[in-house]
């Protein structure tokens, strides 16, 4: 669990690092506004991996209802989701 002050930038930075390491892609492959699934970065198992990562890293609880396009539809949406959950 991260203890430093969370900012949009810091969450996005750690998240992108996680994506590159975990999903075998380069930064330039990731389009921030586009769906990670549609762009072929992750598959349905990837959604589960991302959700587990966020729960562990930011100590939030993600039920399957929250795993929707509004919250998980892109890197930007995921970062916003984490911020909302941490408020």
């Amino acid at each position: 669990m991260k203890t430093e002050v969370l900012t949009k930038e810091s969450i996005q930075e750690s998240f992108l690092e996680f994506l590159c390491q975990q999903f075998l892609v380069e930064r330039e492959d990731i389009e921030l506004e586009k769906s990670l699934v549609d762009t072929g970065i992750i598959d349905s198992m990837g959604l589960i991996e991302i959700s587990a990562y966020l729960q562990r890293e930011y100590d939030i609880k993600i039920t399957e209802e929250k795993m929707n396009r509004n919250n998980f539809g892109s890197v930007i949406k995921i970062v916003d989701f984490v911020i909302r959950e941490k408020l």
């Binding site: 999903f23 075998l24 769906s35 699934v37 970065i41 198992m45 589960i48 929707n68 396009r69």
Partner: protein, 345 residues
């Protein structure tokens, strides 16, 4: 046994595996990654507790407590046995007969199901569809890069139908759990147990489904799709659980556990499979297209957990029964020249 491939000196990951880096001793970055090893145990402990709580809560409420995806291979045979004997679940065993199950595996299924005294259903999709599905999965790029580090495209196609069919049965019969025989080398740590938001999953799978529909027509939806009607109707979805991830058995220990059920090791499959006659071909296609075997990750995981020696793993990887590969190519009408070839970057 000759291995000309450059591999990690600890595990069997090879030089063409995505994002691999070797240090001066020839050890790969996956072996060096400490984080993974330290978190695994806590994940398993947490999952063990959560799973037994879920079983406790749901046991006996529905006609069946769990549907078990049963391929007849050794891992899913042990899964079935644990579900019945260790977890005391009332199970419905389910087999997808893909048209290429080894005849010996089919006999195993019959004997094991009888020995455990459980209900069983088999779903056999049209052979024409299955042949075409395997053919396009072999020739075209359907799935993403990460998926393919764990599994061949053909196995993934098959498993998509297994998962989808099991889900339909579970929903229809109100079965709270779907059990599969995956182990930790095959799936990520956090997929030991999980629930899915199917509406989102459906959206997520759209691009794959579109690719397949373009190549195979609307039948794809029948076998691999979830209808909107189902999504709208269902209140609670079943939980997917891989109980084998909570165990640590060597291959020999698994076989010893299931021999009393009448399970016999099939001789008509390759070293990595204990049920499917396409497996040797599937691996061959993967190696031709991507330059590494879809079993490297799983076998390497077993080596790191001391459940398999590096030598045994190499032996499995290098077992390429050409007769089975030729049989599959002939049956699927695939020509060697149709397979894209891996190029070193």
């Amino acid at each position: 046994m000759h291995d000309s491939t450059k591999r990690c000196t600890c595990c069997v990951l090879s030089e063409n595996f995505p994002k691999i880096e070797f240090d001066e001793k020839g050890v790969c970055n996956f072996c060096r990654e400490e984080l993974y090893h330290s978190t695994e145990k806590s994940y398993i402990d947490e999952a063990t507790r959560a799973i037994s709580e879920m079983f406790e809560k749901e046991r006996g409420k529905a006609e069946y407590d769990a549907i078990v995806c049963y391929s007849g291979g050794k891992d899913s045979t042990l899964t079935l046995k644990l579900a019945v004997e260790k977890y005391k679940l009332k199970v419905l065993s389910f087999t997808l007969e893909n048209g290429f199950t080894s005849p010996e595996a089919n006999k195993n299924i019959e004997r094991v199901v009888a020995a455990l005294g459980i209900d069983h259903i088999t779903f056999r999709p049209s052979k024409k569809f299955m042949r075409e599905l395997y053919k396009v999965s072999s020739i075209y790029e359907i799935y993403n890069k990460k998926t393919l580090t764990r599994i061949s495209a053909n196995c993934n196609s098959c498993i998509s139908i297994v998962n989808n069919t099991a889900l339909k049965y579970a929903i229809e019969k109100n079965i709270p759990f779907i059990l599969s025989g995956f182990t930790l080398g095959q799936i990520p740590l956090n997929a030991i147990y999980y629930k899915t938001n199917y509406a989102f999953l459906k959206e997520s799978r759209q691009s794959t489904m579109d690719k397949l529909t373009d190549l195979l027509g609307d039948d794809v939806h029948k076998y691999m799709g979830i209808s909107d009607r189902v999504i709208e109707q269902v209140k609670t979805y079943p939980v997917n659980i891989n109980i084998l991830c909570l165990e640590s058995h060597t291959e020999k220990e698994i076989v010893d556990e299931i021999l009393p059920l009448g399970w016999v090791p099939p001789k008509d499959v390759d070293g990595c499979s204990s049920n499917c006659r396409l497996n040797a071909f599937n691996n061959y296609v993967h190696e031709t297209k991507y330059g590494y075997s879809p079993y490297e990750l799983e076998l390497s995981h077993l080596i790191r957990k001391n459940l398999l020696s590096r030598e045994e793993a190499l032996h499995k990887l290098l077992d390429q029964p050409m007769d089975q590969i030729r049989y599959a190519m002939k049956d699927l009408h695939i020509d060697e020249s149709q397979l894209p070839r891996f190029k070193v970057q």
